[in-house]
């Protein structure tokens, strides 16, 4: 799968992308929402792993922009705010977010979601 990992914590974005590469995927990391949008405009990704809270423009806002541009990639949202997940349930559903993982997660949690999309 072609996967974009978006998280402003560079360490987390990088090790997650590295892990996905080690699992045989093509993965790249973007560290902010603007960069993520540029990446998606240039390339088609099968899956975007998107942090919910990002500086300047939030992850969900980026997903909204991507959907308006007819990007059809799967979306896996990651968040450290379980409360926000509940608050944004409706919006996440509207944006066709396929899965939400709460931080801290294990790589196995991510693998399980990715495998579901690969099938």
């Amino acid at each position: 799968m072609k996967i974009l990992v978006v998280d402003d914590n560079r360490l987390l974005a990088t090790i997650l992308a590295d892990h996905l590469i080690a699992r045989g995927h093509q993965a790249v990391a973007a560290f902010d929402g603007h960069l993520a949008e540029i990446f998606c405009d240039r390339e088609d990704y099968d899956l975007v792993v998107m942090d919910m809270i990002l500086p300047e423009v939030d992850g969900i806002d980026v997903l909204e922009r991507l959907r308006k541009k007819r990007h059809k990639c799967h979306a896996l949202v990651i968040t450290g705010f379980p409360e926000l997940r509940e608050k944004e349930t409706e919006r996440l559903a509207r944006l066709d977010v396929s899965a939400v993982l709460e931080k801290p997660f294990s790589f196995a949690d991510v693998d399980a979601v990715v495998e579901r999309f690969s099938a």
Partner: protein, 189 residues
């Protein structure tokens, strides 16, 4: 009355469910003096987290409560508690009460200075709009402060989290120590 060193202490406690289980008379008097129509009967049983206005502060308090439960040490920090007429600096002490499931929050006024009256201290907002970003490790809950990852109570002091106006936004990531542990555990380092 709970008073120490000549300062009045405003005390409230929460139970294991995070609900207010005790407020002292001074706490009620302080709230009333600040324009809140409240009573002990109204406060008891309320979820503390519901009394906190913004997501970031709720999140930090939730982490502090976890830390307090996990430790026998008290956590102390200075915070701002302004009124429309004055700037106020207060000190909080959080501690897990021995032999019970309760956590006690005891605050006292350190310094107060008058200011021109402002009608509304903070406009209602869905989430923080601060430009500042606080990096928190989702794995160990430490916080990046001045290039070092420290416990949240240290970060509150170092970064003056509760001493200024508004909380920074919180960005959850991973610290280098947890990265190493995670990679070692996953066998992919």
């Amino acid at each position: 009355m709970i008073e120490q060193g000549g300062r009045i202490r405003y005390v409230h406690r929460i139970n294991a469910d995070g609900r207010i289980s005790f407020v002292n008379d001074d706490w009620i008097a302080f709230a009333t003096a600040n324009g809140y129509r409240t009573s002990r009967a109204y406060q008891l049983g309320r979820a503390l987290i519901d009394c906190i206005g913004d997501e970031e502060t709720r999140h930090v308090y939730a982490r502090l409560i976890e830390r307090t439960c996990a430790s026998s040490r008290a956590i102390r920090f200075v915070f701002r508690c302004d009124s429309p007429h004055s700037r106020r600096w207060m000190r909080m002490r959080m501690r897990h009460l021995r032999g019970s499931d309760e956590i006690e929050f005891a605050s006292e006024l350190l310094h107060e200075e008058p200011r021109a009256t402002v009608a509304l201290l903070r406009p209602p907002q869905a989430s923080s709009t601060s430009e500042r970003v606080l990096s928190m490790c989702s794995w160990c809950k430490s916080v990046l402060a001045e290039r070092a990852w420290v416990e949240i109570e240290q970060a509150i002091i170092k970064l003056g989290l509760f001493s200024g106006n508004g909380m920074p936004r919180i960005s959850h990531g991973i610290c280098p120590g947890c990265k190493n542990r995670l990679l070692a555990g996953e066998g992919t380092s």
